[in-house]
Symmetry: C2
DNA sequence: TGTACATCAGTGAACGCGCGTTCACTGATGTAC
DNA sequence: TGTACATCAGTGAACGCGCGTTCACTGATGTAC
């Protein structure tokens, strides 16, 4: 859908995409509404036809991120096929792949400082994403003997935390470029050790 | 050291502390040099007697953070006493305590976007902190049978990643206030499971 | 102890800038007849 | 098919603001004699 003169066609989505590009390039700080408008080939004032303002635009970018994220995680887990453990590891890899492939979304979701409760739509998308991860953890936890089975929401949180930490500390070239490891290998090894700790992988 | 008229006394450190307070309150985005100057009771121009500019001030705040951080981690690990595992768990708790007690430092260190290589002093402080953590991991790893002992730097990175992830996702009241767990418990349980996966804690 | 003077940490005014936001407007689009 | 008109997505000028930074300055401090 090319620009066609006075009317843009789909300015709303074009603004979201401009915002994502700028957020990925310059961080949430560097992102300005004016520059997003300029990138989309439009006057800053035009933004207000589609969004309430700067924050609202970021919120929509984050919302779309959560939707993609939830879809990818769901697809990667694949109902626990071929095995619960393998599917869970695939989910970890997909997490990292998401962060790398959609850096603008990732930053809008986790580093922009906007509250997940800013709009009902954003809250719903975020809740759905968390639900997908917890469902995967739930399925996995059925392979743990009940008497030492931690709550699924808890180890879902562990994996999410480690994944997020790896992304922030080791998957970004940006600050200091301290990358002694390949992030994907690092996360995969970490999840492996963790699953062994849960008794889901044979100790040897 | 109270203000004494025209000359401040120790403006440099007062500015760092004002910056830390503002960063903790409003995030690295919300921090402005002008407001830090105002908080310290001084004209914005005065800042330039002590720092090259805004970024340089943040870098110094981060540097002080790394120094405190390294000291606390070193102290918590306590050369591996009373046992390597217990000391390592204590280090995890200390990590979280640092993030809670020094939020301005934490944000300046990990969320301000300034490169760890911005100044030699900052790079040195950051390297020292990483060294402390890796030394702890090294000591711990001696209790793992050599044939399945991962590199110490690697599982140091795992623990750091999980700790950082817990801080970012679960220890902040800020965005969305999604705190289904106490962050300290969550991290402690996570580290426990991970150490069990390494064979450092008995599987039952 | 007192005076002259160098040092230096602060002031305050000024700058140019880009920001987010508002407003009255205008030109393009699509629909009713 | 052609015309009138309502709708609405854009413009462009303007705003007030606070920012980071610069500059010539001034007042306090500390030292030499």
């Amino acid at each position: 859908m090319p620009k066609r003169g006075y009317h843009h066609g789909n300015l709303r989505q074009a603004l979201v995409e401009a915002a994502l590009k700028l957020i990925a390039e310059k961080g949430p700080t560097g992102f300005t509404l004016s520059e997003a408008a300029k990138t989309a080939g439009v006057t800053p004032a035009a933004v207000y036809r589609h969004f309430e303002g700067r924050e609202d635009l970021i919120a929509e970018a984050a919302r779309q991120g959560y939707e993609i994220f939830a879809d990818l995680m769901d697809y990667a887990f694949d109902e626990g096929r071929p095995s619960a453990v393998a599917a869970f590891e695939a989910t970890g890899r997909a997490y990292l792949a998401f962060a790398e492939k959609y850096p603008g979304h990732y930053v809008a979701m986790f580093e922009s400082g906007i509250s997940v409760n800013r709009t009902p739509e954003l809250a719903a998308a975020s809740a759905r994403a968390r639900g997908v991860l917890e469902k995967a953890a739930e399925k996995l936890s059925q392979h743990i003997p009940p008497e030492r089975r931690p709550p699924a929401a808890m180890f879902s949180a562990h994996i999410w935390a480690m994944s997020h930490g790896v992304v922030e500390l080791y998957a970004r070239g940006a600050p200091g470029t301290r990358a002694p490891f390949d992030a994907a290998e690092l996360l995969e090894a970490g999840i492996g050790i963790y699953l062994r700790g849960l008794g889901l992988i044979a100790p040897d």
